[in-house]
């Protein structure tokens, strides 16, 4: 018999190596799915703040999974403990995996010590969305804010089979971003309030989107103790 490769059968699903998954997904498919997500939530809320919270919660779930996935894939199961470390992790690694590019900029807030901002010329999730005038300052980027928040939360032990069920392994790049932001911070041990804002830029028709991260008091105290 000519040596035909035999696929190794794993008795225990936990022993199976993690696949890299498909790296790309159709933008249109995601846009329609996200649009449906927003519409679904819109029929179940009474006001805009509630809608933002729901989008944020949706992002939270994705963020938790992405944190696990990326800690294993990209960082060799190491966990960030320093503030700047986790911020640059979100800014580059998470954004790269979710959106295919690093975020446009990471800035420290000038008025308050505990504020940081990640800006993006145009969030991928907002690309096809025109907010009607009567919705005021609502931003679908709340989804992304939710993703970041989880990132800053507490690290959990990694179970490989979680990946199989996680959204991130099925929808690489696009879906992760939004939900992930809040989920990432919470999951990593840096509780924070994360929100998405439109910042008008002169000379540009569309406003820039800024994800504002406001860390909890304990994070700053811990950071000061670590020196």
């Amino acid at each position: 018999m000519i040596g035909a490769g035999k696929i190794k059968q794993y008795a225990n699903v936990l022993d199976k190596p993690l696949s890299r998954g498909r790296q790309e997904v159709s933008l249109s498919a995601f846009a329609f799915l996200f649009s449906e997500l927003v519409q679904y939530n819109q029929t179940r809320v009474d006001n805009i703040a509630e809608l933002e919270r729901r989008l944020e919660d949706a992002g939270y779930a994705v963020g938790a999974r992405v944190l696990e996935l990326l800690c294993h894939r990209e960082k060799g199961n190491r966990r960030e403990t320093r503030l700047l470390g986790i911020l640059s992790f979100v800014h580059s690694t998470v954004w790269k995996v979710l959106f295919g590019k690093v975020a446009d900029s990471l800035e420290k807030g000038t008025e308050h010590e505990d504020e940081y901002m990640i800006s993006e010329k145009e969030l991928l999730v907002n690309r096809f969305i025109s907010i009607p005038k009567d919705m005021g300052t609502f931003n679908c980027g709340a989804f992304v804010a939710g993703i970041v928040k989880v990132r800053m939360g507490y690290d959990l032990a990694v179970f490989h089979w979680l990946f199989v069920t996680s959204i991130s392994s099925n929808w690489p790049k696009l879906n992760k971003l939004l939900f992930l932001e809040k989920g990432v911070l919470d999951g990593a041990g840096f509780p924070a309030v994360v929100t998405a804002h439109f910042v008008p830029v002169e000379g540009q028709h569309r406003p820039r989107t800024t994800i504002l991260i406001k860390f909890a008091e304990e994070v700053l105290q811990r950071e000061a103790r670590l020196g």
């Binding site: 249109s28 846009a31 329609f32 996200f34 649009s35 449906e36 997500l37 927003v38 519409q39 819109q42 096809f128 969305i129 025109s130 907010i131 009607p132 919705m135 679908c140 028709h205």
Partner: protein, 141 residues
């Protein structure tokens, strides 16, 4: 260089969902535009019945002395038609580009209700860019 007078988009039931005029030659008030849209919808449907050959999908081009009317119908029944100067070239291509913009910035917008008038800022912005990119000068502006 030929020019566009006006652009209409009508939904599958014949209601006008988008109307834009370019210059005074194409301008008409709201009621007239609504009437014209439903008139065109009916004519388009009737022409499908009148056709001596089977498989006719409706009027694609109407040529008159002072204007041409190019119409594009999508698979879902949404019709996009443009009234322009006689013998304007590349209108079919433009209609397809507008249809693509429609699918992108209108249909993927969660705040747009199907078959309702289009009120999407991104659609308007990209539409103007598409019209200008074709280097079709806007009459009277």
């Amino acid at each position: 260089m030929a020019a566009i007078y006006s652009l209409f988009i009508i939904n599958k039931s014949g209601g006008l969902i988008f109307y834009k005029d370019y210059g005074s030659a194409g301008r008409m008030d709201t009621n007239d535009s609504l009437r014209l849209a439903s008139l065109w919808h009916s004519m388009h449907a009737i022409s499908q019945q009148l056709s001596p050959t089977t498989g006719c999908s409706g009027i694609e081009l109407l040529q008159a002395d002072t204007f041409d009317l190019h119409c594009f119908q999508s698979l879902t029944g949404t019709k996009i038609f443009v009234v322009c100067e006689p013998s304007t070239l590349h209108m079919e291509g433009l209609l397809k580009v507008i249809y693509e913009l429609y699918t992108d910035y209108v249909l993927k917008n969660p705040f747009y209700e199907m078959e309702m008038p289009i009120r999407c800022e991104l659609f308007d912005v990209n539409l103007s860019q598409a019209i200008q990119k074709d280097r079709v000068p806007l009459l009277g502006r």
